[in-house]
Amino acid sequence: MKKLLSAPALFAVAGVLLIVGVVLAFWYSPVDASSMGFSQKILYYHAPIAAAALVAYGVAFVAAIAYLRTQDLKWDRLGFVSVRIGLVFSVLVMITGMIWGKAAWGTWWAWEPRLTTFLLACFLYAAYWVLRSVVDEEQRRATYAAVFAIIAFIDVPITFFATRFLPEGLHPVVVGPGGGGMEGSMAVSFGICMIGMLVLMAAMIVRDLEIELIKDRVTDLKTSLGG
């Protein structure tokens, strides 16, 4: 079980799923019937990346609460790497979103609720990063980072709700109330890409966490050797 959840195994599973997903998306799923046409193919990566970013921030939120309760630095490391991976995915959401926006709406940037929320999430978690870099003492850094991670995660949905009060957005609602829904073969490809992307995110977090814990051990060993 432990071997199955190790970073290399997770990376392999993610790789296979994402390749299968993209092959299915292009050769099995039909071209979108709406005005978006071929450019809709980017949805198979764009939406799973967005979901992975949010899940990573969610992991950081849970890790922050766990840290504040236990004061165990392992949780701090988990929160830290989750935010880092979440940021990477958020930047990818913005890039894929902009490419899609250019193809579908003819503009690189639209002040549209979801895109704007992700932009703000990027700034929030960049601030988390800055906060960590200006506190020297280990426990205090972890505590402040945890408090901010909790506040930041709560802010994201409120921001999303508030952006509804900005002038009309352009984002298509695919799944959910008022959404167009997905044709069966599209849903299969989409589901595989979604799972693949989440596994990739998990693999990256596991790998980074292992690295951080090894770094901690090296520091401990150095200290115990009087270095």
Partner: protein, 228 residues
């Protein structure tokens, strides 16, 4: 000493200290008035430009920046004079400190607004909005509460870091975006067309939700933020 008495004592201490020197209030009021003049020149492109649809934005950007100044100042004093250490040594609940600091900051913000809003109305608003004062005051109070509670929590954190006052805007501004969106929209609609509670309900709900959620979150985490 009961919690309420402690709360009153801390608020009173902050108010007395400020009223003796008036450093913070004078600078904040001057800043707010200067910002209005700068906005006027920045946005007036030609003779008779209608600034009505900028009014909400101008007002809230000014208040939030003024509050950043005030928050930094209020905690810098606490830190430099070791007031906070003394306060932490007293048998006072950390939550009481949070509530008292938030209330103190709220009072300062309200004093500034009491000076700034009439001047702002004189400069920029042609419509008589006395009849719409009630919704305006509700929006004002709701937004202030969110700014002050979150601002107090984050100012406490940032003053204990190496970059101190440099850090606060980076932490606070992205978090305040929902407040800015809702308060700006509501204020502009009140100033421009006298919108009432009916059409502002959604925005007020955002502000109320923000206040409630972050008040609880700040309350719950302040113990960790203020440290031992």
């Amino acid at each position: 000493m009961s919690g309420w008495a402690q709360f009153k004592a801390i608020v009173r201490k902050d108010l007395i200290r400020e009223l003796r020197t008036r450093d913070m209030l004078v600078s904040m009021i001057l800043f707010v008035l200067l910002a209005m003049i700068i906005f006027h020149y920045a946005f007036t492109v030609k003779e008779g430009t209608d600034l009505t649809f900028f009014t909400g934005g101008m007002l809230w950007v000014t208040f939030i920046f003024a509050m950043l100044l005030g928050l930094n100042r209020s905690f810098a004093q606490e830190k430099d004079e070791h007031c906070l250490d003394g306060l932490l040594l007293c048998p006072v609940d950390r939550v009481t400190i949070f509530l008292a600091k938030t209330a103190g900051n709220l009072v300062f913000l309200l004093i500034i607004q009491a000076v700034a809003v009439p001047v702002f109305a004189l400069f920029f608003i042609e419509r008589n909005f006395i009849g719409d004062l009630l919704p305006f005051l509700v929006v004002l109070l709701l937004a202030d509460l969110g700014i002050c509670s979150l601002g107090t929590l984050l100012a406490t954190i940032s003053m204990n870091t190496r970059s101190r006052d440099l850090l606060l805007p980076i932490l606070l501004l992205p978090l305040l975006v929902p407040v800015l969106i809702a308060a700006t929209g509501a204020t502009t609609l009140i100033f421009a067309e006298g919108a009432g509670f009916g059409s502002l309900g959604g925005r007020m709900l955002v502000l109320l939700g923000f206040d409630a959620v972050f008040f609880v979150a700040a309350w719950g985490t302040y113990d960790f933020a203020i440290g031992e």
